[in-house]
């Protein structure tokens, strides 16, 4: 049930790459606008045909320009969540979902639409028109509609870009929970590295239609080529943690493999797993354990290596218990501390430096 894509084109957006998504895997196509990521998604759906391209799903060929095979979108079993959801405005939520199940009988359709709306936590809103739903609710209808066709490939085109931050956090959690029910390959197009890192198993970073980095999210996030394409300020590491307790002052105590981490209010019951995204430029390094500091998190780490990209900064990879974090410090600071691989030092992290939407439920992929 894997999805294999190859595309080459010169216009309107140059493309030259190939990738593969396994069943049940979530691949993020990450790039700036104009990088060609949406064009790739449209190619898979059948809404665009590059000069040379091949799309194979589950052993079946949907598109092969060489063999003159090009199935129209309605003959490809694909589920698409559009950036602005593209719901049918004259239909209710339930009718929107049912509209993708024309092959079923009326009664079956209604039952299935109800089940899917339940799955995306929309019970009770089945009779509403899209205009009567909030942005987050519309996105859930769009997800349910995309799943209604029992797609062989699920495509998500910037599905979180049209909602506010608070809604986005909730939708992230829902998508993570929903993944347990998904057995098809999933492709997420996004320009947001945080989103990709929170949700995806693997990432493909695209720049000007070419793949600049590819692999598990953790390794891509410290890949110099990926960071050159996405911006060095996006460098971050994902650390798995368990909620230990919630303090009455609004702080949450998390247990990580490197020790205790205090963060402002993290959603979830004690004992549940979360993933915390630690931005490389927020980490301060110290030779000795600092005293009298306002920062709440001072954790022992070990230097793995230093990568310098020619600029004034160095990327330091640090062993953080059994995990890894990144620290981006100036070359000058690295020299002043004379950082060497295997040095035992301290990483300092302000609690407030971890944004709310940089913490997500679930285990690290």
């Amino acid at each position: 049930m894997a999805l294999a894509v190859m595309a080459k084109a010169a216009t309107p957006i140059p493309l030259d790459l190939a990738f593969r998504v396994e069943p049940g895997e979530l691949l993020a196509l990450v790039g700036h606008s104009g990088s060609g990521k949406t064009t790739l998604l449209r190619t898979i759906a059948g809404l665009w045909r590059p000069e040379v391209a091949r799309v194979q799903v589950n052993g079946r060929t949907w598109l092969d320009t060489g063999a003159r095979v090009d199935l129209p979108p309605h003959q490809r079993r694909v589920g698409v969540v559009f950036q602005n959801y593209a719901l049918f405005p004259h239909m209710t939520a339930a009718q929107n979902v049912a509209s993708a199940m024309d092959h079923m009988s009326g009664a079956e359709r209604t039952r299935e639409a109800e089940r899917l709306l339940e799955l995306v936590n929309l019970h009770g809103l089945a009779g509403r028109k899209p205009a009567q739903l909030s942005g987050g609710e519309q996105q859930r209808v769009a997800v349910a509609r995309a799943l209604a066709r029992r797609p062989e490939a699920l495509l998500l085109d910037e599905p979180f870009s049209a909602v506010d931050r608070a809604t986005r956090e909730k939708l992230y959690a829902e998508i993570i929970a929903l993944r347990a029910h998904l057995s098809m390959p999933v492709v997420l197009v996004t320009h947001d590295m945080n989103e990709a890192q929170l949700l995806a198993d693997r990432m493909v970073v695209i720049d000007a239609g070419r793949m600049v980095a590819e692999g598990p999210t953790g390794s891509v996030m410290s890949d110099p080529d990926a960071l050159r394409a996405m911006g060095i300020r996006e460098a971050a590491a994902m650390v798995p943690a368990t909620i230990a307790s919630h303090d009455p002052d609004g702080m949450t105590q998390l247990a990580t493999s490197a020790g205790t981490l205090w963060l402002p209010q993290v959603e979830g019951a004690p004992g549940s797993s979360v993933r915390v995204r630690i931005m490389a430029h927020e980490v301060i390094l110290s030779r000795t354990r600092p005293e009298g500091l306002s920062a709440q998190n001072i954790l022992p780490v070990k230097v793995i290596d230093l990568q310098s990209g020619g600029g004034p900064a160095v990327m330091v990879r640090l062993a953080f218990g059994e995990d890894m974090i990144l620290a981006r410090v100036t070359r000058r600071a690295a020299e002043a501390l004379s950082l060497q691989p295997d040095d035992h030092i301290y990483a300092v992290l302000k609690s407030m430096s971890v944004a709310r939407d940089h913490v997500a439920a679930g285990n690290v992929a």
Binding site: H74, F82, L87, F88
Partner: protein
């Protein structure tokens, strides 16, 4: 009051709408969604009846429908009578001179359907015909209703082309607009006044119904 002429006008307008609706749907949809070379020229051709003097337009139709033209000969061979100066001839002429009134609003109606909504329909597994029926028509229909109402009202009022192509045969080609003209010519001011008032009332009623319907659609989608 010339009831025969009024009934003829209503029949003419009705048939014109019946034939133009499918043409407006397919031509309007085609022009709304497709990009192709010469599209501007096609759009200009469709709009031409709007700017040509009815006499000029009627003259060309008369040539095209006449017994010497291929269309005229075909018509005589098939139906056994001339196309000009017949009710059928009026219907054909009426379809042609109403093209801008039907296609233009229909095109605007289809253009109002967002492209991602159409793409979503095909990604939901709908064939192009099914997408037209389930998604595009329900969203484009204010444009289509406008097209049909304009066509109907405009046919009731058309004078020059009807006179050129149909003449003024009572019960066959004498429409209410021509009957009004004849009444005025014959100093029957009372008759002309009644018929004019009836025509105003019918036109006003049709347009008022359209506005009412489209405001209901606005609420339904809003």
């Amino acid at each position: 009051m010339d009831w025969t002429a009024l009934w003829l006008s209503l029949r003419l307008a009705g048939w014109t709408v019946v034939f133009l609706l499918p043409i407006a749907v397919f031509a309007g949809r085609f022009l709304a969604y497709r990009r192709f070379g010469g599209k501007g020229l096609i759009e200009a051709l469709v709009m031409l009846p709007l700017v040509l003097p009815p006499t000029v337009f009627g003259f060309y139709l008369l040539l095209a429908f006449g017994a010497q033209s291929p269309l005229g000969q075909f018509w005589i061979a098939t139906f056994g009578h001339q196309l000009v100066f017949s009710f059928q001839g009026l219907v054909v002429a009426s379809i042609i001179f109403n093209l801008p009134f039907a296609i233009q609003p229909a095109q605007r109606g289809f253009e109002a359907v967002p492209s991602d909504v159409r793409e979503a329909a095909s990604c939901c597994g709908m064939s192009p015909l099914r997408s037209l029926w389930r998604v595009e028509l329900p969203l484009a229909w204010p444009g289509l209703v406008t097209a049909m109402v304009l066509t109907f009202a405009h046919t009731l009022g058309e004078f020059g082309i009807v006179l050129m192509v149909g003449g003024s045969i009572p019960g066959e080609t004498k429409t209410i607009a021509i009957s009004i003209y004849d009444s005025v010519q014959g100093f029957d001011d009372r008759g002309a006044a009644t018929m004019s008032a009836v025509l105003v009332a019918i036109s006003l009623f049709t347009i008022a119904v359209t506005y009412w319907l489209s405001s209901r659609v606005g609420r339904r989608l809003g």
